[in-house]
């Protein structure tokens, strides 16, 4: 695309985007940090650069949480253990589905706040990093 597309807000989170070749109807919604975007049945989340910077900074990702009420079926780490980003820390089960909780970054586990067999709720740290 050589030229900038022309974006016309239609209200309610809808935009008409003309890229010079065709027009797209796009919907956008979200909070300050993350936007959800819809076009032609496809959906993506897009994170604002400032939010990424914040997330990568110290203080963020201090722990991991369950996205839903679930049962802890496996615990792979203990306090003091070093983990690498992407490593599976905890395996949860909800609605007969296994859900691995992975390390959001490299770090050292400070505390583990759940045990195998526990019923856990969203919004509560399952473990914390140093």
């Amino acid at each position: 695309m050589a030229d900038s597309p022309v974006v016309t807000p239609l209200g309610g989170g809808w935009y008409l985007v003309d890229d010079g070749e065709r027009r797209w109807r796009v919907a956008v919604a979200g909070d300050r940090d993350t936007q959800w975007v819809f076009v032609n049945g496809q959906v993506a989340t897009v994170e604002a650069p400032k939010a990424i910077a914040r997330r990568r900074g110290k203080g963020h990702d201090a722990g991991v949480m369950s996205p839903m009420p679930a049962t802890v079926v496996a615990l792979h780490v203990a306090p003091g253990q070093s983990v690498t980003e992407g490593e599976t820390l905890i395996v949860l089960e909800a609605m007969k589905m296994e859900l691995p909780i992975r390390a959001p970054r490299d770090g050292v586990v400070k505390t583990v706040a759940c045990a195998k067999g526990d019923m856990v709720q969203p919004g509560v740290n399952l473990l914390e990093f140093e």
Binding site: F38, V39, A44
Partner: protein, 512 residues
Amino acid sequence: MTADLAKRGIRRLLIANRGEIAIRIIRACRERAIETVAVYSDADAEAPFVRAADQAVHLGAAPARESYLDGAKVIAAALATGADAVHPGYGFLSERAHFAKACEAADLIFVGPPSSSLERMGSKIGARRLMVEAGVPVVPGETPADQSDAALEAAIARIGFPALIKPSAGGGGIGMKIVRTASEAADALAAARREAQASFGDSTLYVERLIERPRHVEIQVFADTHGNVVHLFERECSAQRRHQKMVEESPCPALSATVRSAMGQAAVAAARAVGYRNAGTCEFLLEGEGDAARFYFLEMNTRLQVEHPVTECVVGVDLVHAQLTVAGGEPLPFTQEGLTQRGHAIECRIYAEDPAQGFIPQAGRLLLYREPQGPGIRVDSGVTAGTEVSVYYDPMLAKLIVWGESRDIARHRALAALRDFAVLGIRTNIPFMLQLLQHPQFVAATIDTGFLDREGAVIAAASVTELPPAAHAAVAEHRRQFGSGGGAAPPGGPATVGGDVDPFVSLRGWRG
């Protein structure tokens, strides 16, 4: 007493359900000037179906056993609000004989079959015996009293090849052996016996015909209190994942007129055998296609089905209206001779789940929600923008039902409607559904019940595509308008669509 209630028809109906089906029933009631009572849990206090009803009664906490599954609370709510009937919808209490019985005892019309029918169809073994007696084909199988090799081999020869041997006490596929020819039987029996003994402490074997790559084809039936029983043709529901249906359609492209008619008659016989009343569905496995196809009774669903709109579109009836008519004691509003199929209908179940992450259920608030519209497009939904989708109940948000003159027209209509179905805030299976409806096997209508379990992951991977630059332009404009600080974004990877390992990717630099 019940007869008197029935005679005067239903005046006030309590809907013992939630979500889209509650709204579906409320709409039918409005058209009949029947007052509606919704019941709800803590999680649904602000749900659209609660607001749509004339009255609403709080049942209890979010877990279903403390609310929607608590029959005593539901009946107390019906009596407290002066309701004279209860519609159970599907799921929850709809097929619980004790609940239907409790309604009957409380002089409430249960919009469904009598509790005796629920009891008879509720037991799989009992239902199978009843169907055999009624002449309805079932998957041939038996547990020979004589468990010798000779007797088991004779049983296998009787039921036919390919056969499946499985432990009577078993489950989970342990000890199951496929026998394709008589010469394989002896080895398979020995192995199955050893595994059955080792795993279950019981070497008794059951032998049955193996139905390979079957289709799931079900027949809608309807019976009234005047002795009329009709069928409303078939729905094919072979596109299912872990026994959860995803796409349903009618007619079934594999059915010939002869087999369709035979299945319809079998379903009517099944309904008569259990003294059925109101709407029900006989599920069958279909083996092969055309006039050579064979069908086997699986089970009867003694309620309105999720996919009932497919039948409504193709047959041109309103099944919920018919349910209320029949429950009120009137005869069926249609006769077998008057029923025909016209065109083709497809239903897509829109689930709050992320196919790219192993179909994990999603929870959260719907930030933006817009349903598709247009000729031949129907959406039955229980949500709106702002709805908080919880993890407590079925993850189905909506059903998209399309009708077209032919299967291909209906399929293209479904694709266009899915591309116009905007749901933001949680992931849905819409991108997956778009891929599925374009899959060569779906296009050719050759899907069997194992298809999505085999191919689901591949289709899910294909549904992850890159966002067009136009989408990024809209995001940048949105941020500019709402001050979310996107302006001069640093270079980053392109946003991917459909979710991947890290869905939080930065926006590509944009100048508007």
